[in-house]
Symmetry: C2
Subunit: 104 residues, 2 copies
Amino acid sequence: SRLEETIKNTVSQNPVVVYSKSWCSYCSEVKSLFKKLGTQPLVIELDELGPQGPQLQKLLERITGQYTVPNVFIGGQHIGGCTDTLKLYRKGDLETLLSDAVAK
Amino acid sequence: SRLEETIKNTVSQNPVVVYSKSWCSYCSEVKSLFKKLGTQPLVIELDELGPQGPQLQKLLERITGQYTVPNVFIGGQHIGGCTDTLKLYRKGDLETLLSDAVAK
Ligand SMILES: N[C@@H](CCC(=O)N[C@@H](CS)C(=O)NCC(=O)O)C(=O)O
Ligand SMILES: N[C@@H](CCC(=O)N[C@@H](CS)C(=O)NCC(=O)O)C(=O)O
Ligand code: FES
């Protein structure tokens, strides 16, 4: 579908993408982690898109298996949610993924 | 107002009360912390109350100054949100507050 193409283009053309909800603290945590690491992610607030928000959220579930937010992509690769992202950060892997993605 | 009385009765008659939203991970964190500490809080899911949910949320803001969820009360006392509750837990104060409240 066209909306599915939009998601695929978005995550391939932007090194860091976060599908988010503006009021959600788990999403805020992920956004401020990237900011702290000097990366400016593309943030898509699903609650600010009217009816397209729920549509995107369902499509993301079909594409990634994940329905929840935050939904994080780095270098076109699906990373996961807040817990997954923090786990990678503590292991030291997140910064490697970020520099690879930004370098592309 | 009558709804305001309901809140005041709820927090005075129940040792631990969490105003919550069922999909919110910060609320889940607080609920599982209390469960881990052997306390069964009274949980009010504001997203499951139809139009009364937003009404309660605005009243809670008027009463406590806090609009966000989770909104936590122990022994009738306003504790705060997820971060505040975790802070008290790490300081060792949360368990003291809980035993006092449960003992009442
Ligand atoms: N463990 C996941 C939890 C994700 C989660 O439960 N997200 C909630 C918001 S905090 C959610 O998307 N709920 C459904 C919704 O808001 O539509 C993570 O770390 O990201
Ligand atoms: N620092 C606060 C953050 C609270 C917060 O921002 N809560 C969000 C959900 S995670 C909220 O209530 N947003 C407005 C809403 O859902 O109505 C805490 O630790 O509880
Ligand atoms: S909505 Fe509360 S942490 Fe996501």
